[in-house]
């Protein structure tokens, strides 16, 4: 392997990312080439300097805070997956169904008693007034419109 090719592969060699035969070729070249060996040392130094850089400490309560935000944003009930919470959810759904059924049953009873108590009472009668709506909105002078009154005055004037 030539110096140029070795130099290009040095970083991957140091990272252990070369195929065995390629790594062997680089190793053999390094044994015979002080210049490339010095380049490898430089890379090792650089890696050490990079890895000495400090990271970031996890802020206190980060995971709990993320969970709280997630629950707020996604409206996920807290601890829904715990068995107690699941049982509570099932029970509350059963209670809702029972309440609706009870409401329908009581409502049915009340309607029946109302219809029975109204027997013997004269039904109220309502007088139905029919309006003769002749307004034709598409006509140029719909009956009762300002335009019709104006034309009537105009006719009288003639």
């Amino acid at each position: 392997m030539k110096c140029k090719k070795t130099s290009e592969r040095l970083n991957a060699y140091l990272d252990g990312e070369l195929a065995p035969d390629e790594a062997l070729a680089v190793r053999e070249h390094l044994r015979a080439c002080p210049q490339c060996a010095a380049e490898l040392d430089g890379l090792k130094q650089l890696n050490r300097a990079l890895e000495a850089e400090p990271g970031m400490a996890v802020p206190n309560g980060f995971a709990r805070r993320v969970r709280a935000v997630a629950e707020e944003r996604h409206a996920v009930p807290v601890g829904l997956a715990t068995s107690t919470a699941r049982l509570q959810l099932v029970l509350s759904r059963i209670a809702a169904v029972v309440m609706v059924a009870a409401g329908l049953w009581v409502g049915g009873l009340m309607a029946r008693s109302t219809s029975q108590s109204s027997l013997g009472v004269e039904p109220e009668t309502y007088e139905v007034t029919e309006f003769d709506l002749q307004l034709d909105p598409l006509s140029a002078t719909p009956p009762g419109s300002v335009a019709e009154v104006y034309l009537a005055f105009a006719d009288q004037g003639e």
Binding site: P59, A63, V66
Partner: protein
């Protein structure tokens, strides 16, 4: 102990305990990757939190084709790029190493100066090279894993890292 993938499946069904456990397992890595890329603790915290939110929101579509960590870092990468594009002017934060009792003042000053130069050199790298470097040197990921996180081939990661190292060596030749 549940695997990350099992926790994700549970989180998808609304198990918030599983979600919190996932966050606990990966919070250090998520914060570090975002912080080393952005050099800002507040932004890093925002990005890490948002990444976990996105992961929860898409948990029902999650297919464990890669390690959870790779999936998480892919989400963080996209968020970091968004922040990087929006951020102006660049907020820089000095990452001072904790002083050691063994260090004298002169040693500490020298180390701080070197650290500041290393950070400045890293920040000058193009975003994709910088993220590849962070995932390799601080998270110890393989080229293949980095490729999955950055949606490119292992060969492309090799090229990204080689270019990054060449630039860093030039920038830091008298500092290391």
């Amino acid at each position: 102990m549940s695997t990350d993938e099992q926790l994700m499946l549970s989180a998808a069904e609304g198990d918030m305990d599983a979600f919190e456990e996932l966050v606990r397992r990966h919070q250090q890595g998520a914060l570090n990757v975002a912080y080393r890329f952005l050099s800002d603790r507040t932004l890093a915290e925002d990005v890490a939190q948002e990444a976990f939110m996105k992961i929860l929101a898409g948990a029902d579509r999650y297919r464990p084709s890669a390690r959870f960590r790779t999936y998480l870092y892919n989400v963080i990468w996209h968020l970091c790029i968004d922040v990087h594009r929006r951020r102006k002017p660049l907020r820089l934060e000095s990452l001072r190493p904790q002083p050691s009792d063994e260090d004298g003042p002169a040693d500490a000053a020298l180390r701080d100066e070197r650290s500041a130069r290393v950070q400045a050199a890293i920040r000058k790298l193009p975003p994709r090279q910088r993220m590849a470097l962070v995932l390799k040197h601080y998270e110890g990921m393989s080229y293949k894993e980095i490729g999955k996180a950055l949606r490119c081939s292992a060969r492309a990661v090799d090229a990204l890292l080689s270019r990054a190292k060449r630039q860093l060596k030039e920038e830091l030749q008298d500092a290391i």
